[in-house]
């Protein structure tokens, strides 16, 4: 315990006598506070002033009253309850805020008492947030330190990883996937590996998490508190103007396809909470992602604009001649592209329908010089 922590405790006891100090706390913290009426009361620690002017110091293990300040210091010295109080109330602060709740989640603070938690923190307490792995440890004087890295890098030595200390570096890491392609959707499950923020403080780890997964902490907290605001498809589509004004014309059936195409676990870590409209759920599964998705995102809206235009076309009949294997190959190409498997198909594996050589063979055989499948023009002359 640093002198500043003890000074802060004494100041808080004197200032908060009579206030209770539990305003805005989460339920678990409120319960923890219920032991104290005056002075400082926090997670098993209760320090107050006695009527005679001495201090009263109480933890689950110790009760001492009538203490002059030097003796209060002796009791406070080495007490995890005191450094825990200092960390949460002076370093983190902001009771009732999403960010505080997130940090408490990182050490499962509402699930176990302080000494047990300190033991666990010394070993390292791990939580996950999408593809992020956050390991909370105990720093000096009860401060928390956080190691942030990709979940797939859990077992790697930090020396093997690109080490960062500026949380805003997360923006650059999140920008491109492992193949160097731009990730317009931050919650796509394509976060690259090979980096670490091995030693962040509480503010910095939040800053980095927010850069990797913007607004997820705020929305997780709202969901937890039961007040997540969901904007369903119709409301979101009708709100659009300009070039996106058209998306509200997308047929309901096509909105099902949108959800199935875009809003599944393989494409996004968010769990779709929006439906076609209130009381009219989509059949497509919302997925099991860790973050709630509260309205169609800008990627979905922009893609839906294209689909709205495509869906305006009337269907027509074409007659193609394909062998059964060629039909299956076209289906295999659709599947491989849609699932992002093209890059994993081996160069010479022509048994795979979506193999490049095999696809080139099909193109050579079945399309003409204009690229028309089986020589059949897309637009017929008689129309």
């Amino acid at each position: 315990m640093r002198a500043a922590q003890f000074d802060a405790l004494v100041t808080a006891v004197d200032a908060e006598s009579g206030s209770g100090g539990a305003e805005g706390a989460d339920d678990a913290e409120r319960a923890a506070d219920a032991t104290g009426s005056d002075g400082v009361a926090f997670e098993g620690l209760a320090v107050s002033r006695d009527a005679d002017g001495g201090y009263r110091f109480e933890t689950p293990d110790v009760t001492a009253a009538g203490l002059p300040e030097p003796e209060l210091r002796t009791h406070a010295e080495g007490s995890p309850y005191v450094t825990n109080w200092y960390f949460w109330e002076r370093e983190v602060g902001r009771r009732g805020s999403p960010r505080r709740a997130f940090l408490r989640r990182a050490e499962a603070a509402d699930d176990r008492p302080v000494p047990e938690r300190y033991d666990a923190l010394r070993e390292g307490l791990v939580t996950e947030w999408g593809q992020l792995r956050i390991e909370a440890t105990l720093g000096a004087d009860g401060a928390r330190r956080y190691d942030l890295r990709h979940v797939d890098d859990a077992g790697r030595d930090v020396a093997e990883l690109d080490s960062h200390d500026d949380p805003l570096d997360a923006r650059e890491i999140a920008k491109l996937d492992g193949d160097g392609r731009y990730r317009p959707l931050k919650t796509a499950p394509s976060l690259r590996t090979g980096w670490a923020f091995p030693d962040l403080g509480p503010r910095a780890v939040l800053e980095a998490v927010e850069a990797f997964y913007p607004a997820t902490v705020a929305n997780w907290y709202r969901e937890r508190e039961g007040d997540l605001d969901v904007s369903h498809w119709r409301e979101t589509a009708e709100r659009q103007t300009g070039i996106y004004d058209v998306v509200d014309e997308l047929p309901r059936e096509a909105v099902e396809h949108v959800a199935e195409a875009c809003c599944v676990d393989s494409q996004c870590l968010k769990r779709r909470e929006w439906e076609y409209e209130a009381g009219d759920d989509l059949a497509a599964d919302g997925g099991d992602g860790p973050f709630p998705c509260r309205e169609p995102c800008s990627v979905v809206v922009a893609a839906s604009r294209t689909w709205t235009k495509l869906e305006r076309e009337a269907e027509r009949e074409y007659t193609f001649t394909l062998t059964p294997s060629e039909k299956e190959q076209i289906e295999a190409v659709l599947e491989a592209v849609a699932e992002g498997r093209v890059g994993g198909i081996r160069e010479a594996d022509v048994a795979e329908g979506a193999n490049r050589y095999r696809t080139r063979y099909l193109r050579a055989k079945r399309t003409d010089e204009s690229g028309d499948l089986c020589g059949i023009p897309t637009e017929r002359d008689d129309e």
């Binding site: 491109l176 731009y182 317009p184 800008s298």
Partner: protein
């Protein structure tokens, strides 16, 4: 009471560099310590405009749009997506150039949002244009013997776009620093293609009034002006075009001094920014070249 700056910009689903200037200027303002929080929000990236306010703790939020002109985005999209209750463009009392601030409660969060005019129409943007000329020439005293061209997109979709170009060209002209100053456009007369016809000076600095470098500033303008036949092969700075040395500066929005405009917009709206404006002006200035002796 704590105050936050939120910089809102378009962003892109396709171009990873589109949002880079917004992040850089936000970082510059963050480093001044003038705001308790500095955050960014985007139409096409995350956090989205719909959710950016909930990432901010402060009760007083100054929102500055990283847009060049008043128009569709500043008047419709941003206020709607930020859920500014009671938004009415008339509250800006703007002639298309003069939007400064209007204050609302955000229905999303209850925060007080001071919604500012875009960076592009602020008077100090003129200084950024001139600074861009200094950066591209490496000369903090550039002016004498030089022409200066401000390039805009043109009025195809938004008449205010040309107003902003004219406004800044007029202000640069009145500085009496460059020999000639012209406003040129991509899609209307006078066209940037005809740049040599509009300048007598051998040296001409060409500054596009765009927020970020993208295909207009990196592909269209260099080819239209004749800096290069094919943007993929790049171009020289300066490049020879019909007897002129053209110093092409790229998007003005990438100039570090633009952070100053964010601060000034917020300060005009009532934010306490302390000495941050002076700090940014000092830290982003172009150093004079070492004397060669």
């Amino acid at each position: 009471m704590s105050q936050a700056l939120v910089v809102v910009a378009h962003g892109s689903h396709l171009n990873p560099d589109s949002s880079a200037p917004t992040h850089e200027h936000a970082d510059t303002v963050r480093a001044t310590g003038a705001f308790d929080e500095v955050r960014t929000g985007f139409w096409k990236e995350e956090p989205n405009l719909r959710e950016v306010l909930r990432t901010v703790d402060a009760e007083e939020v100054y929102v500055v749009p990283m847009f060049i002109s008043e128009g569709y985005f500043t008047e419709q999209v941003i206020p709607r997506e930020l859920r500014l209750e009671g938004w009415d463009v008339a509250d800006w009392e703007s002639d298309g150039l003069s939007a400064d601030v209007a204050t609302y409660a955000a229905t999303d969060t209850g925060q007080t949002v001071h919604y500012c005019g875009p960076v592009g129409t602020h008077g100090s943007m003129t200084d950024v244009l001139v600074r861009r000329a200094e950066s591209v020439t490496g000369d903090p005293d550039v002016g004498e013997g030089f022409g200066f061209a401000v390039v805009g997109h043109g009025t195809e979709r938004n008449e205010n776009s040309a107003k902003a170009i004219e406004y800044h060209a007029g202000r640069v002209r009145s500085m009496d620093r460059f020999d000639e100053v012209e406003a040129l456009y991509m899609d209307e007369e006078p066209e940037v293609d005809d740049l040599p016809d509009h300048f007598g000076s051998e040296d001409v600095v060409l500054v596009p009034l765009f927020v970020a470098d993208g295909f207009h500033t990196q592909e269209d303008i260099p080819e239209d002006v004749g800096l290069t036949d094919d943007y993929r092969t790049g171009y020289d700075v300066p490049a020879e075009v019909a007897g002129h040395r053209v110093w092409y500066a790229g998007a003005v929005g990438t100039e570090p001094l633009l952070a100053d405009v964010l601060l000034e917009r917020a300060a005009d709206a009532g934010a306490d920014v302390g000495d941050a404006v002076e700090d940014v002006r000092e830290t982003t200035r172009v150093a004079a070249p070492e004397a060669d002796d």
